[in-house]
Symmetry: C2
Subunit: 561 residues, 2 copies
């Protein structure tokens, strides 16, 4: 594979000849007539395929990661590669992933459909409009906004919403910092009532979180109706259902609720559906998509955003508990680079071999391993390979993991696709077939809010205490008054540390975490303790990647990385 080493992701994807999506569907025993095509390489699947018996019986594998460097440690690439590997060793496997957001594609980030020889395709479409799900979420979100402002403007049917209390924001899938904070309704009586507002990026919409938590169309409508908007002047809460918005919003989501089938580079099935923010929402694909995958294949590989303290914790405590899903194995992605980072390497030293730093940084991975076990799951560590890795570093990690009773396997999906992932696949199958993994949620949803937060902060993060600001204490009273105490906790915290302080790497000790305030996603069904300032609308960089993109008269795209 030497000669192809320098190809970009899009070049690898474009050099790959895709199968017609009906061929991929056939591998899942899906009849062509049941597919809703979106071109030749994408299709939507009907919800009627979900079979709860198979969901319970088949094998769900979660891919999560140690605390990442800013570049990320390759969870998506590992998930896709592992799927190739599992299929290679004869396990009928589907990868089930989130949909990437379009906005960041024109910024720095580039695509989010895996990388190298572990990608889902067609990568251009998946990274751009795909099948229109994000656009539908955006429209549903913004219809509610328009209905709110229309009601405030109404003379005859005014609900008395106090514009100063409205927490519902508009959204746009675009990196557009100028829309973060705006004033709307200017220009006189015809244009509404002036008020402050702002746009979040579309994946940060609660509508996206709801889509990912919904069990079916009825449940979707109920959840949409439960969206909390703000208060009236006499302090009564107002929900989307008070504006009779939920059916119209659900109509806009009628196709978005159906999971999307695509393929991996090795022509294995991939279901890509839903894309909620990982920092202020649950950050995983839809419950419907995960169940769809489990209904159609023996193994499902899925991933949860950010490190395991955030992504896996939410995946397990919110999504799995809510949907009755029981993962049979967890893959914890680590990189030598990230271990060096936690061992003290600066950004320009990430690629400099250092056994000492790896040894020091291992405490981070160790804590994540311990955490997985708190859910009844013994993880497999995947060392996502980089050219700068040395044998000494790899061996040391393998030994150290072995001491802990954990298999650590080098994963070479990026460079070699499924061929580079056979060992990891075998290790995962061993773990699944051991029958030792018995998933259990970390806390009972019915515990008091503070106790639930304590469990996460102390047992997962390793904090000694949780401090609540004055504002947070007031919010807790409001949560009680609104009857939301039974909801699970969706932590909003930096992904860069176990603590709420970016700077504390490795395995911080003797720290407290600070809850500054609470938000509540009543529709999606969780309480969000805010432990730091969360970015909900990215900006473009000095040189937007849009400038380097081209499209020719045949529709071929370059420069989308």
């Amino acid at each position: 594979m030497e000669e192809t080493k320098f190809l970009t992701d899009i070049e690898i994807a474009q050099n790959n000849e895709m199968e017609h999506i009906k061929t991929i569907a056939a591998k899942l025993n899906i009849n062509e007539d049941d597919l809703e095509y979106y071109g030749k390489y994408k299709a939507k699947l009907p919800l009627s395929f979900i079979d709860e018996e198979k969901v319970a019986q088949n094998n769900l594998i979660l891919v999560t990661a140690m605390t990442p460097t800013p570049a990320g440690e390759g969870k998506t690439t590992t998930s896709i590669g592992l799927t190739e590997g599992l299929n290679k060793i004869g396990k009928k496997t589907t990868v089930v992933l989130r949909e990437p957001s379009l906005g960041p594609v024109f910024g720095i980030k580039g695509g989010a459909a895996g990388g190298g020889y572990a990608q889902v395709v067609p990568m251009e479409d998946i990274n751009l409009h795909f099948t229109g799900d994000f656009s539908a979420v955006e429209k549903a979100n913004n219809l509610l906004s328009a209905l709110i402002d229309n009601n405030i403007q109404s003379k005859t049917r005014n609900l008395g919403i106090d514009p100063r209390t409205i927490v519902w924001k508009r959204v746009m899938d675009m990196n557009d910092r100028a829309l973060r904070q705006i004033t709307i309704g200017l220009g006189g009586t015809a244009n509404g009532i002036p008020r402050e507002d702002g746009f979040n990026i579309t994946p940060a919409s609660e509508v996206m979180a709801i889509l990912c938590m919904a069990k079916d169309m009825e449940d979707l409508k109920t959840k949409l109706g439960n969206i909390f908007i703000g208060f009236t002047f006499d302090k009564k809460p107002i929900y989307a259902r008070d504006l009779k918005a939920e059916d119209a919003m659900a109509i806009l989501l009628k196709d978005a609720i159906k999971p999307n089938l695509v393929q991996t580079l090795e022509e294995n099935p991939a279901i890509i559906h839903g894309g909620p923010f990982a920092n202020i929402a649950q950050g995983t694909n839809t419950i419907i998509a995960t169940k769809m995958g489990l209904s159609l294949s023996d193994y499902v590989v899925t991933e949860a955003g950010f490190g395991a303290d955030l992504g896996a914790e939410k995946f397990l405590n919110i999504k799995c508990v809510s949907a009755g899903l029981k993962p049979k194995a967890v893959v914890l992605v680590a990189t030598i680079r990230a271990l060096r980072h936690h061992g003290g390497a600066k950004k320009d030293e990430y690629n400099t071999p250092s056994l000492e730093r790896v040894e020091k940084g291992f405490e981070n991975l160790e804590k994540h391993i311990e955490n997985c076990r708190k859910f009844g799951l013994n993880p497999v560590v995947a060392i996502n390979a980089f050219p700068s890795d040395t044998d000494a570093e790899v061996l040391w990690i393998k030994d150290k993991c072995k001491e802990m009773g954990v298999q650590a396997i080098v994963a070479e999906g990026w460079a070699h696709g499924g061929d580079g992932m056979v060992d990891l696949a075998n290790a995962v199958v061993t773990e699944v077939e051991s029958g030792q993994n018995k998933f259990e949620g970390l806390y009972d949803w019915n515990l008091p809010v503070k106790e639930k937060i304590d469990k996460i902060a102390k047992e997962i993060y390793g904090a000694t205490e949780v401090i609540y600001s004055k504002r947070a204490k007031l919010d807790l009273k409001r949560i009680a008054r609104l009857g939301l105490e039974h909801l699970p906790i969706c932590m909003a915290k930096t992904q860069k540390s176990f603590s709420d302080n970016d700077k504390l790497l490795g395995r911080p000790k003797d720290f407290s975490v600070n809850v500054r305030e609470f938000e509540y996603a009543v529709g999606a069904g969780f309480i969000i303790p805010i432990l730091g300032k969360m970015m909900r609308m990215p900006g473009l960089p000095a040189v937007p990647s849009s400038e380097g993109m081209t499209i020719d008269n045949t529709g071929k795209i370059s420069g989308l990385s």
Copy 2:
């Protein structure tokens, strides 16, 4: 058909059993492999199907209308019905229409996919996200906005754009009056430079106008690059190409550029593509779609927005001249209701028979007939039937038209589909086969701007003079300075009167029109004289139609009318 009389449009559409879109495509000799499906009932068509020889040889029929009442006179319904009628008499015909905008569906207006037994289906999809074209236009528009604000914020690559001069606005396909006038970039240095902005509804985007004027991907890119944004502090014009935006925008439009194939209720082919505003843009489907229709069938029926003074004039002088299209016949839609309106009936009297008012109101239709002849086209009048029509009124109109050498035919597409349109179809074929219609544009694009405007105002509207405001005169100088004088004219005028005054019904005489200012769509390629305040972002009504909509667990929608 007595028992179905009271069905709503959506009920009629849902009771209709659709053919798989491959069956419709087969009627156009399209191979299944060449289709890009969007579900079973929608498909995109490759641009390679366009065959200029067939475009020149086949028959293009324009459906336009007399000056309408606020309810509209049924151009879309007539276009679809006529297509059914033409197919019934053995002419292989495709209807080529604009895509409806999603925003108004949740307001008052309801759908825009025809009505009664003359509809295109699936009507819910066509009225909602359809194949994502509007969303793609919206994203392309808003990417440019984000790039503009990002450049203003840039320290290292600043082009010196003066924020006070920026004419490029963001867009959203939503009736949302609160976004008409906003302040963006608030909240400190991280959020950009504060400035005034606003959202238009997506069909009002110049990107939509460009999509509809583009000949292919290369042409699309060139036109996108030519979008005028504003001036630098030292008064240099800035275009989208200065931000290197055109390729990224074109990438977002890579699927939107392909026309969409659907079907009529009688399973005839319908191509629906592009939807620019009729009041500040050219208001017709894409050039690509019209050429696609002509490449695939002997007859193409298409429509142009609003009355013939606006829609047909722009269609003929801008679109047809630009694309080299030569319509072979024009259908002028009239209703007895509209004739009564122009004869003095108030809104609650539209359904009250009155031969006197019809006789008086006829002068409006007469002027439109005369106008069609100025383009070398003798129209056929379609009297779109309403229950309140009386034989006396209909007979009088028919006689009057006959005196003018024009056939007037009662069109019953709404009530009877193709069966109600056979007479009209025969009349159109007679007109086409007469060979008498020799289309010619009204003016030479190379004339001075004022002379082009004079031609339209005096010959089409019947004005005695054109008055330019001080601002308009300054704009004319700027147009000269920017080198745009060779562009055709895209009038922005009320659709309610031949004049620029809503109140002047019938056939106004001795009036002048006032050009208040100019805009220029440099990308789309036209100069826009503004003759009145144009609405570019509608609002929702007191009772939004969203409140009456429902969707059940099977995905069936009700209340979308």
